[in-house]
Amino acid sequence: MKKGFDFLFPALLGLALLGLWEWIVAARQIPVYVLPAPSAIAAAFADNFTSLMLSLLATLQVTVIAFIAALTAGVAMAILFSQSRLAERTLYPYAVILQVTPVVAIAPLILIWVGFDRVETALVLIAALVAFFPILSNTTLGLKSADFNLLELMRLYGASRWQILWRLQLPTAIPYLLGALKIAGGLALIGAVVAEFVAGSGTATGLAWRIIEAGNRLQIATMFAALMLLAVLGVTIFAALSALEYFLLRHWHESVLKPGR
């Protein structure tokens, strides 16, 4: 019942806002190239359905590949850090520098180095760069958070480094990693969009390019349609990662369990 209300009230609010929007645009006769009404956006969406969907797929592909690359690299580096203090001290400052430098500023360099003939690779690289740091930093923290008594117990039973990593440190890090993934999923999408904006010219085919192109042609309704698809994509990624989190933690983690059990 409560779940129903969780869904019902936001939906009602959304409908009310759309209605108000439609009414204001009609009542004040706002031109379509300034603010299109929801009905005009829906029409633009229907007219450009195929090209918008192809763009959605292109952006989704960059986002997913970048996300997987960031996940792999972030976890691998966190494991390296957990095994070697020296590696952590040496490399961590550079990871921080990469993180704090705005990606928009690095993106043109990456595009030049990777080359405009391989713009897809450059887009993935830029998006992965944005998503990488939260995964590295959270997983590193998680691997260090293993229960000290369990660690001693495993040592008493003659556990190897590898066994301690696999049976204690990695499971401990899973909730930390999943928390990071929810942030990184959104960041990968933002990274992909930013990269497309920077790449600009006709080489890119994603939703961001669709927004630039529609903007240049003053097709504001199409712009809104592309924007809406981006929002839907972002929410879907977040929901999928939340579902994964629930699935992996449902038996044991405090964050998922109901109190009073």
């Binding site: 008594n149 117990l153 008493l156 039973y157 003659g158 049976r167 038996h251 983690h253 059990r261």
Partner: protein, 240 residues
């Protein structure tokens, strides 16, 4: 010769605190020895030295041959929250690469001995404090230890649960011929369980009294048990 002898063992922590100084005692095969003392007297440090988790600054820990198969039980159950009871109890076997099927059988048998048949697939979060401690002891038993080191294992449990676990532990130790070194700050518990109580004084920790007792279990309401408790309590007060 004793199973284990500590000779003039000393340990200083990194912050300079002297945890143990001139600690000497020996433990015979089949003994149930309690280390009794106030908080901060170095009991846990002594246990970790015996487990080989830390090394003494001076003095020796001498074994009759080598350290036998050893189980360790902490004050907290110290279970893996992501693993069910069977997987938790199987941990020492998994670490020693015992084949999965045999490991499952031995872990299930250890759980059954602790009265946890039917709870193999329960997660720690679903178990009560006493049941979690039983899983923790089952984990120690799964590796068929000859020596069991216990660091205030029942301190966080209620009196009735604690009494039940005391009796189960005594029966197990006797059946399997396990030598137990049991750290506690409870006079009653040490008197109930032990064949010998070693009283420790705090900062730096050393043995101030040794009391030989009739091995348990006892009638908790008997005159004899009351006297045994009184002897232990007197020695503890003298040490303080």
């Amino acid at each position: 010769m004793s199973l284990l002898t500590l000779r003039q063992v000393g340990k200083r922590f990194d912050n300079g605190t002297e945890a143990l100084s001139g600690l000497s005692f020996s433990v015979d095969q089949g003994d149930f020895v309690s280390l009794l003392g106030p908080s901060g007297c170095g009991k846990s440090t002594a246990l970790r030295l015996i487990a080989g988790l830390i090394a003494p600054d001076y003095g020796d820990v001498v074994w009759q041959t080598e350290r036998p198969e050893t189980g360790f039980v902490f004050q907290e159950p110290t279970l893996m929250p992501w693993a069910d009871a069977l997987t938790n109890a199987r941990l020492p076997l998994d670490l020693k690469h015992v084949p999965r099927g045999e490991g499952n059988d031995r872990a299930a048998a250890a759980l059954a001995r602790m009265g946890l048949s039917g709870f193999e697939s329960a997660y720690p979060r679903e178990l009560s404090g006493g049941m979690k401690m039983r899983v923790s002891i089952a984990r120690a038993l799964a590796s068929k230890p000859k020596l069991l080191l216990m660091d205030e294992p029942f301190a966080a449990l209620d009196e009735i649960t604690r009494a039940g676990l005391n009796d189960d532990l005594l029966a197990l130790a006797r059946e399997d011929g396990i030598t137990v070194i049991f750290v506690t700050h409870s006079v009653m518990e040490s008197a109930y369980l032990s064949s010998r109580v070693l009283v420790m004084s705090p900062r730096p920790g050393r043995i101030t009294a040794e009391i030989a007792l009739t091995p348990g279990p006892h009638d908790r309401l008997s005159q004899e048990f009351a006297q045994a408790q009184a002897r232990v309590a007197a020695a503890l007060l003298e040490a303080a």
